[in-house]
C-alpha cells in the first residue's frame, strides 16, 4: 500500500496528491510516470509524476477527474492509501542545454510539464512557458511554473485570464516576436499537441509531445498504448511517453483514446448512482 500524505483540490476537479513512494521518488527523472491502482478492484491508470522529493520519499501527482477512477480518487484523503504505485516508468526526457525552449502546457498537461521545465531550466536553458486552459481557475500550478520559467504567457478560451485564445496563437506570436526556439515541448490534450505540431512543422522547430494513452501494465507487456510514429508502431509506456511530435499520428492516438468511452460512461453513472452526496451531484451536473 502507498500512503496518501495529502490531497488538495488545487482547481475544480484537479487534485494534488502527495504520496509516500520512496523507491519511485529516488529514481524519478522528468518525463516519467507511474501506474496507479487506487484500490483492489480498481483499474491501473498512468499518471505522470509532477514532482518528487527523494529525501521525504514522496512523489506529487496531479489528477483531473474525468472518469470513475479519478472521481473516486478525488474523494480520498490524507491517511488513505493506493493499492499500488509502480515506477518510475517510461523513458525520461532528454535534457541538455538546447538554448531557448518553449514549454506549452494545456489543462492537466501542466502538471507533467513542471519537472521537465524545471530540468531544462536547471540545465541552463531559457525557458519560455505558455500555459492554457478553458478558464482562469483551470490554468493550474501557475506559481510553480513561474518559478521555473524565464517568461510565461497565459491563455484562456474564455479570456478570463491572460490572453483570450489558444496556446497555439500565443506560440505563433512568441515565435514571431522572439525568433525560433531550439525546442518546443507540448503536453496537454492530444488535440492541443497536434495543433502545436502542425504549427511548428512548417517552421522546422524541433517539437516533443508527451503522450497519454490507455495502458494496463505500463511496462511494455500488453501493447494497449501503441501508437504510430513515423509509420512505425511504438509503445508509449516504454518507447515514450515523449516522441517527436512531427512524427506522431495524432489522429490515431485520438481515436484510440476513445476505445472505452461507452464503458467509461457506464462506470461513471454507476459510481454517481452509488454516491448520493451533494458534492458529487455537483460534479455530475458540472
Amino acid at each position: 500500500m502507498f500512503r496518501v500524505l495529502s490531497r488538495e483540490e488545487i482547481a475544480p476537479k484537479f487534485h494534488r496528491f502527495i504520496v509516500h513512494a520512496p523507491e519511485v521518488a529516488r529514481k524519478h527523472r522528468p518525463g516519467q510516470f507511474v501506474m496507479v491502482l487506487p484500490s483492489e478492484t480498481g483499474e491501473r491508470i498512468p499518471l505522470t509524476i509532477a514532482a518528487s522529493d527523494p529525501e521525504a520519499g514522496t512523489i506529487t501527482l496531479v489528477v483531473q477527474e474525468v472518469g470513475k477512477t479519478t472521481m473516486a480518487m478525488g474523494l480520498m484523503s490524507a491517511g488513505d492509501a493506493f493499492r499500488s504505485v509502480v515506477g518510475p516508468l517510461g523513458t525520461p526526457t532528454h535534457i541538455e542545454r538546447f538554448g531557448t525552449v518553449v514549454c506549452v502546457g494545456g489543462g492537466a498537461g501542466i502538471a507533467p510539464m513542471l519537472p521537465i521545465a524545471g530540468g531544462l531550466r536547471k540545465a541552463g536553458n531559457r525557458v519560455l512557458s505558455i500555459l492554457g486552459g478553458r478558464t482562469q481557475e483551470l490554468v493550474i500550478l501557475r506559481a510553480e511554473m513561474e518559478a521555473v520559467s524565464d517568461e510565461i504567457v497565459y491563455t484562456t478560451d474564455d479570456g478570463s485570464f491572460g490572453r483570450k485564445g489558444l496556446v497555439t496563437h500565443a506560440l505563433a506570436d512568441l515565435v514571431a516576436e522572439k525568433g525560433k526556439p531550439e525546442l518546443v515541448v507540448a503536453i496537454g490534450p492530444a488535440i492541443m499537441m497536434k495543433a502545436v505540431a502542425e504549427m511548428t512543422r512548417p517552421l522546422a522547430i524541433r517539437t516533443l509531445a508527451s503522450l497519454n494513452s490507455i495502458m494496463v501494465d505500463g511496462t511494455g507487456m500488453c501493447g494497449a498504448c501503441r501508437i504510430s510514429v513515423d509509420g512505425k508502431t511504438k509503445f508509449v509506456c516504454v518507447d515514450g511517453p515523449e516522441f517527436d511530435a512531427h512524427q506522431v499520428d495524432f489522429d490515431l492516438l485520438i481515436k484510440r483514446l476513445r476505445m472505452y468511452l461507452p464503458e467509461e460512461q457506464v462506470a461513471r453513472e454507476a459510481f454517481l448512482a452509488s454516491h448520493e452526496c451533494q458534492a458529487l451531484r455537483g460534479v455530475a451536473n458540472g
Binding site: 501493447g223 494497449a224 464503458e263
Partner: protein, 493 residues
Amino acid sequence: MADEARGVPELPKAERMKVPRHPMATQEPLERIRNFEEVALGYPPEFALEEAQRCLQCANPPCVKGCPVGIDIPAFVQLIREGDFTGSLAKIKETNTLPAICGRVCPQEEQCEVVCVLGKKYKPVAIGRLERFVADWERRLGLSSTPQLAPPSGHTVAVVGSGPAGLACAAELARFGHKVTIFEALHKPGGVLVYGIPQFRLPKEIVTFEIDNLGTMGVEMRTDFVIGKTATVHELMNGHGYDAVFLGTGAGLPYFLGIPGENYIGVLSANEFLTRVNLMKAYNFPRTDTPVRTGRRVAVVGSGNVAMDCLRVAKRLGAEEVICVYRRTRNESPARREELEHAEEEAIDFRWLSAPVAILGNNEGFVTGVRIQRMELGEPDASGRRRPVPIEGSEYEIPIDTIVIAIGQGPNPLATKSTPGLELNRHGNIVVDEATMMTSIPGVFAGGDIVTGAATVILAMGAGKQAALGIHAWLDRLAKGEVAKPAPPPATG
C-alpha cells in the same frame, strides 16, 4: 501412515493393467461457457486410489526422466495407493513446490505420461491428475506443509519475476537457507500464472495458496517493483546488497503480425486481452473498474495454448461467434490436445489453413473485419512441420468486432536493456551457462522464458530450480572468497 483415507491393496501386475484409466469429470460445455469456474473438476479420493493402483512401480521408471523437475513419480503414486495423501504430497514437494499448478497446466502427455510403460499397451497412469489430487486434498483441508529448511546461510538473493521460474528458484534457495526477496512488476505475484492463464484453467486461489506457502518458508515478496526502472540489477547487488540475482522475467513482449490495420481499435494482443480479464477481472465489470469488450464476433489469430485461452475467454465473455484463425492445420497446432478438445467442445469455429493478411476498419478507427488468405501445406520447414503456402486468389473477408493476436511473445527488454554487460542472443534472450545458469555477469543467473523463449510452466520451473543449484554453489564459493560480486558499472550519462 495415513489417517485421512484407507489405502487400497497392491494388485498383481497383470491385474493392474486391467484397471481402466479413470476419466476426470468436467463441467458440461454448455454450462461452463457461461462462467469462469474451473472446467476440469479433479478426482474424488476413490478414483485417485484406483488410479494409483494401476502404476507398475517400475524399477527404472521412465516417467521420472520425462519430468523436467524429476519428481519421484512411482513413490508419490504408491503413497496415494496406501492412502497416505499427505505423505504423497510431501514426496512431490521434495522436488516440486507448485504441485497444484503443475497438476493442472503441465503437458503430461508430452512428458511423464507419454513414456509410461503402461501406455505402450494400455493408457498411461494419469500422473498429472494424481498430482493435482493430492495438492487439492491438502488445500481443501486447510493444511499447508513446508519443507525442511537448512539453517540460515547469511546470504541474500534477489529473484526478479514471480512467475514459474522465479517461484521455483525462490523455493529451492529458501530450502538451502538463503534469504530470498522476489521482485514483481505487477501488483499481484504469480506472473503468467496470474495474468495469463485463465481462472477456468487455473483458479487464482490456488496460485495464491502456493505463493503463500513460499511466504511461510521465509521468502519475501515485493510487488510493484520493476527491475530496470525502480532499481537496476547492478543496484540490487550493490546498493541493496544482494549476493546474487536470478532473472526470471519471462516472455512478456507481445508479437504482432505486421499486417495492415493492426492499430485499429479492437485489435488486442493476447497479453492485453488476458491481463484485462485474468489479472484485472474485467469479466466483473462494472463491479471491477477495468473494462474489456468483445462485441459479437471475435477472431483469435494463432493456435497455441495462449490462443486457446483467448478463444475460451471470449466465449465466456459472451461473444456469439468465436473464430480461430491459424495458417496450418489442427495437426500442427502447438496447443495441448486437451485444450484443443475443450475449445472444440465449446463450439469454437476453427479456420485451419487460414492466414490473416489485413485487418479492416472504419473511419472511427474501429476494426470491422479481417481478410483471410487460404493456405495449403507444402514441404516441411525448419520446425519439421509442413510449411503453409498461400493459395492465390483465395482471399475472403469475415466481419469481426474484436481480434486478438496470439502468435507468441518475446523477451521483455526492461530488465536486460538496463543491465550493461549482460550478454543476449539475437532474439534478446539472455545467454546462460547451461550447467550453472549463470549469465555473462558473475552472480547474475537467469532461467525460464527469458532464456529459452516462450515455453511451458514446468520447463521454466525446472530452469529456476537448476539456477538455484547454480546460485547455491556460487554463494558457497563467494563465502570462501573464490569469487567476487561484480563491481558496479561506470556511471553513464
